[in-house]
Symmetry: C2
């Protein structure tokens, strides 16, 4: 159990068997069926999760009830409404399962205790945050600076697995486009080759 969680951890910071056992005490497994919520808007995000199996998406609803996808998570990725998790305020994001999922949960309490007692955990979180920030920065830079077709190609290269696995209208939403526009962007790209 928790294979991917510790694989990802060890890629950043090597852990001894004892350290792994220590951390395991703070983790909780959770299974989620397709379409089930991991988090609903208004609730406090009490845990962040790592995806062992399956796929999640995060989205916000606008005033007309339309969904706008803000993030995805596939195997090995970590997801949560970070603002809500850190500040213990109501979440603005909804997170639900695109496929049946196996998750590893770290509760806020577990997170705080690990942060206090285990320097390696803090280092891991720091590195995770740094990587997440760099990735989001790149996404944002592409959003404002690349024309649509280049942006789509850049995103494809940034998240190749994701784009194969997730319906295109969700990719469109993630990019801030209508499904029809993305479909036309794709057809323009294939015509120009």
């Amino acid at each position: 159990m928790y294979e991917l969680f510790f694989q990802k951890f060890n890629e950043k910071i090597a852990l001894t068997a004892e350290e792994e056992a220590f951390i395991k005490q703070y983790l909780t497994p959770k299974k989620l069926r397709r379409k089930q919520y991991f988090l609903q808007e208004g609730d406090v995000c009490k845990s962040i999760c790592l995806v062992e199996k399956g796929a999640l998406r995060a989205y916000v609803l606008d005033e007309t009830g339309d969904e706008h996808i803000t993030a995805f998570a596939l195997e090995g990725w970590t997801l949560g409404d970070l603002y809500s998790f850190i500040k213990a305020e109501p979440a603005t994001w909804n997170i639900d399962a695109l496929e049946d999922c196996e998750l590893v949960l770290i509760s806020k309490q577990a997170h705080d205790e690990l942060m206090q007692t285990m320097p390696k955990y803090e280092t891991y979180i720091r590195m995770l945050m740094t990587d997440a920030y760099m990735a989001l920065q790149r996404r944002t830079t592409y959003m404002i600076s690349l024309p649509l077709e280049e942006r789509y190609l850049a995103f494809t290269q940034m998240y190749p697995t994701l784009f194969q696995r997730v319906p295109q209208h969700m990719i469109a939403s993630f990019m801030g486009l209508s499904a029809e526009t993305l479909s036309r962007v794709r057809s323009r790209i294939s015509n120009r080759k």
Copy 2:
């Protein structure tokens, strides 16, 4: 010297006078005249900086030579091309001074040594990253989910000082809009009141 740097640090993690003195050894002051570069695309970002006085902007150039502003920094903010800084790869961002500036620089080497030797520094950086990530996440969420007028108002509230201090066409660029469109958005907002 370094007043704002240590003020910001102490807001997160309280430092003793000895600890401040220790950190000071790793810092370098730098003055920058308006329009001077802090970083140019293609160079490796060897330092991140905290702004003691003045204002910076970061931008990328597209294939037609147009600028797209990716970030600003006012007094107390930290800025750099993080990806380039961490990975020691050529920067994709340009950073220059919008006003005459006084900066505090942390070189990559200083950063790495502090990270190794001083747990409080790592904690500070972790918190800085976390805050930066949450802020960027909010910006990204607004970008894809809010209609233009609401987005502008949300950004105004998110960065009130910035919006007073920086020319509007740069705000437009930061939001991924043309200057003319932002001007019209603003006039629509004032007319509806």
